[in-house]
Amino acid sequence: MNTLLIIIGAPIVAAIVATLSKKITAIEYTSVSAIILSTGATLFLAPSVAKYGIVVFSSIFAVDALSMIGMLITSVIGLAAMIYSVGYLRDEVKKEIIGHSRVRQYFVLINLFIAAMLLACASSNPVIMWLAIEATTLSTTFLISFYNKATATEAAWKYLLINSLGLLLGFFGTLLYLTATATAPETFSTWQTLVANSAFLNPDVARIAFVFILIGYGTKVGLAPMHTWLPDAHSKAPVPISALLSGVLLNIALIAVLRFRAITDATAGGDFTQNLLIALGLFSIVIAACIILIQKNYKRMLAYSSIENMGILALGFGFGGVATIAALLHMIYHSLAKSTLFLSSGNIFLTYSSTKIAKIRGVLTSLPVTGVVFFTCILAIAGLPPFGIFFTKLYILFAGAGAHPYIVATALVAFAIVFIGFLRHATGMLFGEPTEDIIPNIERDRLLIAAPIILMTLLATLSVYLPETLATLLMNASKLI
């Protein structure tokens, strides 16, 4: 229990400190050390989860392999985003774009956000998880409207309302699942008891419930056609928040869907959820691919890429079998690559003060390190070796080829379109000569360089080698889905 308390408690403490303290430096240090502590504790917890399959802390908190993967992603990317936030906000304050009170507000909310995500992973009760995910929505609303511009408010409004609708649908679905354990209302239902009691669940109810879950949590995941909030929110939020939204939050919502899927499959058979996941996954991939091709804003381009990758994950989990492990791996790789991209795009934004692709020229010249990192991750996320996304995509496609040849063919075409879109925009941004009116020497700030490089190195390493603990976790997690 203590470990979990450190993991989730540390960011909450940091949030409280940020509320009370007046010194920005103190807030920065507390926040960073809290997330370091939390990450350390998560890493410490990982081997035992890998060893025992599940570590139960109380009636409502238990960490199994799937939760552990979610928590690892959250804490590692949370760490990088927090380090980057410090540098990023210092720069924004220096430019007098924001004041000190907003910095404090930022750190309060980001810590709460991270804590909520960790909580969502660690809770074994569906309703608590729902509350935690709801808390992520509430904590990020004002982070999205952080810049206080009309468009930012618009994005936040859409984010709040659409996600609330989605989460209410998801809540309705969750309630329907609880019919399985409705005989004993006073005990807390956990994922484990729900799967065990799935025989009591009426298959027809389970199907309806899963549709509500898929549409509801699918909104949060960003599956088309419920994805509409996602590009708006990602493009308007400060980049560390975009990185967390894209790299972590979407995955956690997806993990929720997968939990319910396991219950549904146990009673209603696998075909139903499989077809739904494949259909929505493919639709997301196609929609995102087409829009990426003609995107004009690089942050929105990255956001659509998240939609595409969530589609790939849905496709992979839909195909099942080998594709499940591949999809889990893809989740990790995508989180790392996408966060790196958002963080490095932050440097581009700080230098060029614009998110329009057309206004960015010569990044390789003006920001050599960022440019290389950005380009590398663009290629990684577009699915080129030696980065893992290439392999996971291939494994997913190969696994699905026998049963769903046309879906695989469509996905292949969509991947090529995404790639062309990415490369087209990257070519425009990276090459050539930079314009005159840029702010130079952004890269002198080590914090702004370190975070993306750490994540990219991690991505590259995990692409060729998986630590044994992680490999075991992946194997165990794939059995839970």
């Binding site: 549409i215 056609p225 087409c290 003609i294 070796p385 040849p405 060729v464």
Partner: protein, 686 residues
């Protein structure tokens, strides 16, 4: 010795050398000359190692060598490799060209010093060579796709290396985008194979491929042709090639044009001939048609070019066409159960692959040598370089003769074999008129191609190296460095030796062909080769490289000696000016490349659709007293304007329609969710 190279260690060392080269040049990136020495040095050692490896594997008694490596807990695919005779041939091909190109590069990259990172060049260059070697040795689908993509990736970075010009980055974009479209089909090939055979392992695919339903076999064929053809640059999938190859540094162009596009051919052979033992006849006919069209259009577009590297790139398309003519014949013969003839055809194809690699690299290196001196790729600005750069000129001349299939150079012998396999197809009337017509048309296309290629290289060599310089750069050119000369000279010598000893070479290639068509003792081999000659079908045709060479040499020497010493030797040679009709001859009076090929372009105007744009400026307003008049004669690739542009504008238009989903109206967004919910509920309970 041979065992050591062919051991697992020998195989891994090969890649370790390139990896070290990549890392070392990256580490040494602060010093340009160190990075150059390390990057190219390791590439030289590595490719020498590869050449030895390939050579030993080619002559080794082992038909197939398998290598497998395991990394625990890795998301990587199974690292299984297999080197059979075909792979060995391609390893040798890649390594030898890479070896000479790297030697050349030692001097060539000097003109990038202080402009771009030499470390990055060395990094990608080493990885590029290594990835090509991986492509031809991988023995499972995922590993192969990985290598295939790595090859595209590394070559992309080499294409955009000279990134200051947006032309190059655009060429890189187009290249990489088209490669990725090609990858759709390549992946489709293996995905389909996997779904029917249940394996990604080549040997298991091979064992089970015959059971795939005919329809899906056809789809695999189409996908393979599109996917691998995209890499090879067959018409109409070629438009990336004339843009990308010129953009890369010349030693890389040499590798791309000489070797990289051949990996597509390698895979076509692997999939069509190796996986499917008895392909349907129509596959071969389609390949023949594609080959004929590529060869003809390739050379026609080459004639229209006056950028030397684009010209050479179009010739690569032409030569890929010729290689495909051999491959197509092999497929047809194979499906007609004529292993002897199929062997001849595949040898023709392989031999031309080898030869094209040699002379095309030579020509690109020569072009690079010229460009490094004149700083332009426009041949209209060259002229008279044979005087200032005699070695380059001489080597380029040999390359031109080899690519024009003039005896006794290597190009002739592979073209001869290709002709002979087409002839065999024409003569063989077991499968009806249609097939004979196909071979006949292919033969006609090849004959026409040969003639046009000759014309094109008269233009390329003549306008570049002969007569007066047309620009100051050309006037002040100097002979390039010693390493560049060594690189070119060795390739030129290879072009000659491969021709002279074509008999021996085809003998070795026969062992490669035997992997596809194991000829039983009952069937007499159609080709008997010894060191001195190639002989086909019991004397149907017979050609001897060494005799051709010796007779021509003797004839030339005796003509020279006779006319110089025997006939009469007291004449003087006076140097004078060219007959100028009274006006001093200037560079403006010389033949231009455009002028040279205009006749041919006009003859083929139905295909090439040239445009002549004349603009006149007048002294006093309108239509009196013209001040100056300029004419622009241009040819654009019809596939670009009638095929690619409509498709891309359609894709962009369709995407713009789809983007309207993101209307900005939150009520619409609620509606999407609501409809998705109700819709799915209704559909799933129906």
């Amino acid at each position: 010795m041979a065992e050591f190279f062919l051991s697992q260690t020998g195989f891994i060392v090969l890649f370790v050398i390139f990896a070290l080269g990549a890392i070392a040049s990256m580490i040494a990136r602060r010093s340009d000359s160190d990075a150059n020495m390390l990057g190219n040095g390791f590439a030289i050692i590595g490719s020498l190692w590869g050449a030895l490896f390939g050579g030993f594997a080619l002559i080794s008694a082992n038909q197939t060598m398998n290598f497998a490596f395991t990394i625990p807990f890795s998301p990587l695919p199974a690292l299984t490799f297999s080197v059979d005779k075909l792979s060995a041939f391609f390893i040798l091909l890649i390594s030898s060209v890479a070896f000479l190109a790297s030697i050349y590069a030692l001097d060539y990259v000097k003109h990038f010093y202080k402009k771009y990172s030499i470390g990055a060049l060395g990094f990608f260059y080493n990885l590029f060579i290594a990835s090509m070697l991986l492509v031809v040795t991988s023995s499972n689908a995922i590993m192969f796709l990985t290598a295939w993509e790595l090859m595209s990736l590394t070559s992309y970075f080499l294409v955009v290396y000279d990134r200051a010009e947006s032309k190059n980055t655009q060429a890189g974009l187009q290249y990489f985008a088209m490669m990725q479209i090609g990858t759709i089909f390549v992946a489709a090939v293996f995905v389909i194979l996997y779904s029917f055979t249940g394996s990604t392992n080549f040997s298991e695919i091979r064992a089970a491929a015959a059971n795939i339903p005919t329809l899906w076999q056809g789809i695999i064929f189409a996908a393979a042709l599109l996917g691998f053809g995209m890499k090879s640059g067959i018409v109409p999938l070629h438009i990336w090639l004339p843009d990308a190859h010129p953009a890369a540094p010349s030693h890389v162009s040499a590798l791309m044009s000489g070797v990289m596009i051949k990996t597509g051919i390698y895979m076509l052979m692997r999939v069509l001939l190796d996986f499917f033992q008895a392909p349907p006849v129509w596959w071969g006919v389609v390949i023949l048609a594609v080959g004929a069209i590529s060869a003809l259009l390739g050379v026609l577009y080459a004639l229209t070019e006056h950028n030397i590297k684009r010209l050479l790139a179009y010739h690569s398309i032409e030569n890929i066409g010729i290689i495909l003519l051999g491959l197509g014949s092999a497929l047809v013969f194979s499906s007609l159960h004529m292993p002897a003839l199929a062997t001849v055809a595949i040898i023709a194809s392989l031999f031309h692959t080898l030869n094209h690699a040699i002379f095309k690299s030579l020509l690109f290196l020569g072009a690079g040598s010229v460009i490094s001196q004149t700083h332009t790729a426009n041949i209209e600005e060259y002229g008279g370089l044979a005087r200032t750069m005699p070695y380059t000129a001489f080597f380029f001349l040999i390359g031109s003769m080899a690519i024009s299939a003039l005896p006794p150079f290597n190009g002739f012998f592979s073209e001869w074999l290709t002709f002979q396999s087409l002839f065999a197809g024409i003569l063989n009337n077991t499968n009806g008129m249609m097939l004979q017509w196909a071979f006949l048309i292919a033969g006609g296309a090849l004959a026409l191609t040969g003639g046009l290629a000759l014309a094109c290289f008269v233009k390329a060599f003549g306008v570049t190296f002969l007569a007066r310089p047309r620009s100051t750069h050309a006037q002040h050119a100097h002979e390039s460095g010693i390493f560049m000369q060594i690189g070119m000279g060795a390739l030129a010598l290879s072009a000659l030796l491969l021709g002279v000893f074509s008999g021996a070479v085809t003998g070795v290639l026969q062992s490669v062909g035997a992997t596809f068509f194991p000829i039983s003792s009952a069937v007499a081999p159609a080709l008997s080769a010894n060191t001195s000659a190639i002989s086909l079908q019991n004397g149907f045709a017979f050609v001897s490289g060494i005799n051709l060479f010796l007779l021509m040499l003797i004839a030339i020497l005796s003509t020279v000696i006779a006319s110089a010493y025997v006939v009469y030797r007291k004449q003087r040679i006076i140097e004078g000016t060219t007959w100028d009709c009274g006006t001093p001859a200037t560079p403006r009076m010389e033949l231009t490349a455009t002028g040279f090929s205009r006749t041919i372009i006009t003859i083929f105007k139905a295909v090439l659709r040239p445009r002549l744009h004349i603009s006149t400026t007048y002294k006093y307003g309108e239509s009196y007293m013209p001040l100056s008049r300029s004419a622009e004669f241009s040819v654009t690739d019809i596939f670009r304007s009638y095929c690619y542009e409509p498709v891309s504008s359609f894709a962009l238009g369709a995407s713009a329609q789809i983007k309207k989903i993101q209307s900005g109206n939150i009520n619409a967004y609620f509606l999407y969710t609501f409809i998705a919910l109700i819709g799915i509920l209704c559909i799933t309970t129906l």
